[in-house]
C-alpha cells in the first residue's frame, strides 16, 4: 500500500526539485565547463579556443595562484579558530549558567546578517582601531587577512556553536555518570567520552566552515575589495575581477571557476572521508 502510493506520487515530489536542479545548477554548470574552453562576451557567441585559458591561468602574471595561496591560508586559520571558539562556547553554554538562552541567541545573531553589511561594519570598526597607527585596512594585506579572519569568526561561531550544543545535549547522561564513577575528571571525560561522540558534529562543522571560508566572497568584497592592489583578494573575488575586469577574459574567469570547483570538491571529499573514519557509536 505505502509503496504504491509512494510510487504514484513519486514524480510529484521529485519533479519540482529535479527541474530546479537541472535549470539552476546542472545546465549552467555544464555550460560553464564548456565556456571555460572558449572566448566569449555573452554565452551565445562563444568561440572555441582549446586550453589557452587554462594556460593563462597558471602563467606568472596572473593573480590566481596568489589568490589561491591566500585563500588556503585563510581557510586553515579560520577553520581552526571558528571551531575552537564555537566548541568552547558550546561547552560553556551547556553548563546551565544563568542567561544561557540569551547568550546562545546573541552569539547566533551575527549569522543572520548579510556578508556585505558585515564587511562594511567591520571595515569601520577595524579602521577605527588602525587609525591610531595612522593607517587603514587597505594599508597591508596582513591587516586584510586578519580582518577577514575576525569577520568570518564573528559570523560563523554562533552557527557552529548551535551544532555543537545539539551534539553535546545528545551525549547520554549515563556515560558521563559512568565516567565520573570510574574517577575520570572533567578533561578526561571531555577527551575520551564526549569528543569521540561529537565527531559527527565536528564533521559537519568543519565541512561547513571549510567550504564557506574557501568560497568566501561578500565579506572579502566589502571589507578590503582586494586592496592593497590584489593582495588580499581571495579566489572567488579574483574570479569575479577576471570575469568583469577586461573584455575578452570571460573565458579565463570561467576556467578559474572550473579549477576552483575541482580543488574545492577534492578538499571537501577528503575532509569528509577523514572525519568519517573517526566516528564511533555511543
Amino acid at each position: 500500500m505505502n509503496s504504491r502510493i509512494l510510487k504514484k506520487y513519486f514524480p510529484f515530489f521529485v519533479m519540482p526539485i529535479s527541474v530546479c536542479y537541472l535549470l539552476a545548477f546542472l545546465i549552467p554548470f555544464l555550460m560553464g565547463i564548456y565556456l571555460s574552453f572558449t572566448e566569449f562576451t555573452t554565452v551565445s557567441n562563444a568561440r572555441f579556443v582549446g586550453l589557452s585559458n587554462y594556460a593563462a591561468l597558471f602563467s606568472a602574471d596572473d593573480n590566481f595562484l596568489h589568490a589561491l595561496g591566500f585563500t588556503v591560508l585563510f581557510t586553515l586559520v579560520s577553520v581552526l579558530t571558528i571551531n575552537f571558539f564555537a566548541f568552547l562556547f558550546a561547552l560553556i553554554l551547556t553548563e546551565g549558567i544563568r542567561g544561557t538562552n540569551l547568550f546562545r541567541t546573541v552569539l547566533f545573531v551575527p549569522n543572520l546578517i548579510g556578508g556585505i553589511i558585515l564587511g562594511y561594519i567591520w571595515q569601520l570598526i577595524i579602521n577605527g582601531i588602525l587609525i591610531r597607527q595612522g593607517v587603514d585596512i587597505t594599508f597591508s594585506a596582513t591587516y586584510g587577512f586578519w580582518g577577514l579572519v575576525v569577520v568570518m569568526n564573528w559570523q560563523m561561531i554562533g552557527y557552529m556553536m548551535i551544532i555543537y550544543i545539539a551534539g553535546l545535549t545528545s551525549v547520554p547522561v549515563e556515560l558521563r555518570e559512568a565516567a565520573s564513577i570510574d574517577g575520570a575528571g572533567y578533561f578526561t571525560t571531555l577527551r575520551h567520552v564526549i569528543m569521540p561522540l561529537l565527531v559527527p558534529s565536528f564533521t559537519i562543522c568543519s565541512f561547513l566552515t571549510l567550504t564557506n571560508s574557501f568560497k568566501l566572497f561578500d565579506q572579502n568584497f566589502a571589507l578590503t575589495g582586494g586592496a592593497p592592489g590584489r593582495e588580499s583578494a581571495m579566489v572567488a573575488l579574483d574570479i569575479f575581477d577576471t570575469f568583469y575586469g577586461r573584455a575578452g577574459s570571460e573565458g579565463l574567469g570561467q576556467a578559474k571557476a572550473v579549477v576552483f570547483f575541482l580543488i574545492l570538491a577534492v578538499v571537501a571529499l577528503v575532509q569528509i572521508r577523514l572525519t568519517k573514519r573517526l566516528e564511533v557509536a555511543p
Binding site: P16, T41, S140, Y244, A247
Partner: protein, 438 residues
C-alpha cells in the same frame, strides 16, 4: 495514464512560472548607464507612454556595474534594444551587437559628426551628452582667502590661475591658513577605495595622456593604442601630490574613502576644492546641510605643469554612446529609433532632457537657451564659449581595460600610503598598458 496526466499538468505549471518572468516582449527596453539619471529616465518613460502610447522599460545598472549588467542582460531573449557603449574600448567588446546608425535621423542632428563612435564607414554609437570636469571650487572660501591680509601669494583671484605653479602656491598657502578659512583641508578626500578611484585612475590620468597622444598624433578615432610612454608622469605626480598633501584626509587613510565622502566634504564646506564634473551638481545640492551656494560654485581646469597649459580648458567630452541592438527584431530597432527621435527632437522630449536629465546635448535641435541651468553646466558652457581656451577631449576612452585602470588606482593608493615608489607606479602603468592592450 493518470500518472502522466499529473506529470503533464505539473510541467505546464512550471513552464508557466518560468515564462512569466519574460513577458515584456513588445516593449522597448533601455539599459541605462547613469545611476544619477535613473529617476529622470523613469519619468521620461512615463511621459513617453502617456504621449505616444508606446511602452518602454528602463533598467539602470548600479554604479560601476554597467558592463556586467549589460553582459548578463544582452544574453537574454528579452535583451535591451537600446543600450550604452563606453567609447572605442566598450565598442570592441560589443561590436557584434551594435547596429549601424549612419542613416538614422538622430545622427543627422549631431552637430559634430566627429564625436560619433565610428568604425570603417559605419556609425555604431551616437553620443547623447557632453560632460566636463575640472577642479570645482567654492568661491565663498577662496574669496575669504584672497581677502586675507597675510597671504603670501600675489594671485588675486581663482580666474588668474593659469598654471600649476600658481595653483600650487595658492593651495599650499591656503593650507597654511586653513584655520582662518574655517576648512579642514583645501581638497576633498582623494577617494582611493577600489571602485571609487575613477576620478584619479581615469579622469586625472586623462590630462597627461592627452598631451602625450597629442604629440604622438593619436586621436580617439584610432580606437586602440598598443603602447604608451607615460611621458608626463611627473606632471601627474605634481597634481596628485598636491591633492593628497593638502587634503581633509591624511594620505594613509584614503583607501576606504568613496566619491560620496568627498562630495559631502565639499558640500558641507569642510574643504574648498574637489576634482569632479558637472554631473556632481545634483550630488552636492542633494546633501543635507549643504552650505555651498549655487552662485559660488565654479570650475577651473586641471593644471599639472605641462608646457603650454595656460590656455588649457576643462576636460570636455563623452564616453557614453547610444547603441541599438543589432540582434533585436526590426520592429524593436525602429521603436528604439523612434524613442530617440522623440526624446531629442520633440518639444516635450527636449524639455525633459534639459530639465530632468540636465544634459548638455550635442544635437542641433537644441537652441542656445535650451541648456540645463545648473551652475556647473553653466561653467562648462562658459569655457566652451571662450575661444582662448582649448578643451581637453576625453582620451581616456582609449585606456585599454577596466583591469588596467583598477591596477593603476590600486598603485596610486599604495603610493599615497608610502608603500610604492613613483618610479614603480610609472613603470607599471607602462607595462600594464602594454599587456592589457593585447
Amino acid at each position: 495514464m493518470k500518472r502522466w496526466l499529473s506529470f503533464a499538468v505539473l510541467l505546464a505549471a512550471l513552464v508557466l512560472t518560468v515564462s512569466a518572468c519574460g513577458k515584456n516582449k513588445d516593449t522597448l527596453y533601455f539599459l541605462n548607464f547613469k545611476p544619477e539619471s535613473a529617476e529622470a529616465f523613469n519619468k521620461i518613460a512615463t511621459v513617453y507612454e502617456k504621449e505616444t502610447g508606446k511602452k518602454m522599460r528602463v533598467v539602470t545598472a548600479a554604479s560601476g556595474t554597467y558592463e556586467q549588467t549589460l553582459k548578463s542582460e544582452i544574453g537574454k531573449s528579452d535583451a535591451p534594444t537600446l543600450f550604452i557603449v563606453n567609447g572605442p574600448v566598450g565598442y570592441a567588446s560589443w561590436k557584434d551587437y551594435c547596429l549601424d546608425l549612419k542613416d538614422s535621423e538622430l545622427y543627422g542632428h549631431l552637430t559634430d559628426k566627429g564625436l560619433a563612435l565610428t568604425s570603417g564607414d559605419g556609425v555604431y554609437g551616437i553620443p547623447y551628452v557632453v560632460e566636463g570636469y575640472g577642479i570645482i571650487y567654492n568661491k565663498a572660501i577662496t574669496d575669504r582667502y584672497f581677502a586675507l591680509q597675510n597671504r603670501s601669494t600675489s594671485v588675486g583671484s581663482m580666474e588668474e590661475i593659469r598654471s600649476f605653479e600658481q595653483l600650487k602656491a595658492v593651495v599650499e598657502d591656503m593650507t597654511a591658513h586653513k584655520k582662518e578659512l574655517g576648512i579642514e583641508g583645501v581638497f576633498a578626500s582623494t577617494s582611493l577605495k577600489s571602485g571609487e578611484d575613477w576620478r584619479w585612475q581615469t579622469h586625472l590620468a586623462n590630462v597627461p595622456m592627452y598631451y602625450e597622444f597629442e604629440q604622438d598624433g593619436i586621436s580617439v578615432a584610432d580606437g586602440s593604442v598598443p603602447e604608451v610612454s607615460f611621458r608626463y608622469s611627473d606632471q601627474y605626480r605634481n597634481i596628485f601630490d598636491l591633492y593628497i598633501n593638502n587634503s581633509v584626509t591624511d594620505p594613509k587613510l584614503l583607501g576606504t574613502k568613496q566619491v560620496a565622502d568627498s562630495m559631502a566634504e565639499f558640500a558641507l564646506g569642510k574643504c574648498a576644492m574637489v576634482q569632479n564634473g558637472n554631473w556632481a551638481w545634483s550630488q552636492i545640492a542633494g546633501i543635507d546641510g549643504n552650505t555651498v551656494a549655487e552662485e559660488n560654485i565654479r570650475m577651473i581646469p586641471i593644471y599639472t605643469g605641462i608646457e603650454g597649459e595656460e590656455n588649457q580648458g576643462l576636460c570636455i567630452g563623452t564616453e557614453n554612446y547610444l547603441a541599438v541592438n543589432k540582434r533585436a527584431s526590426a520592429e524593436k530597432q525602429q521603436a528604439a529609433l523612434d524613442f530617440l527621435n522623440w526624446l531629442f527632437t520633440s518639444e516635450t522630449g527636449k524639455e525633459l532632457v534639459t530639465d530632468e536629465l540636465e544634459f548638455i546635448t550635442p544635437f542641433d535641435t537644441f537652441e542656445a537657451d535650451e541648456q540645463p541651468n545648473d551652475p556647473l553646466a553653466a561653467q562648462i558652457a562658459a569655457y566652451l564659449a571662450d575661444d582662448t581656451r582649448t578643451s581637453v577631449p576625453w582620451v581616456f576612452q582609449l585606456f585599454p581595460s577596466q583591469n588596467f585602470k583598477n591596477d593603476f588606482g590600486a598603485n596610486l593608493l599604495k603610493y599615497a600610503q608610502g608603500n610604492l615608489s613613483w618610479e614603480q607606479v610609472k613603470s607599471e602603468f607602462i607595462s600594464k598598458w602594454k599587456s592589457e592592450a593585447q
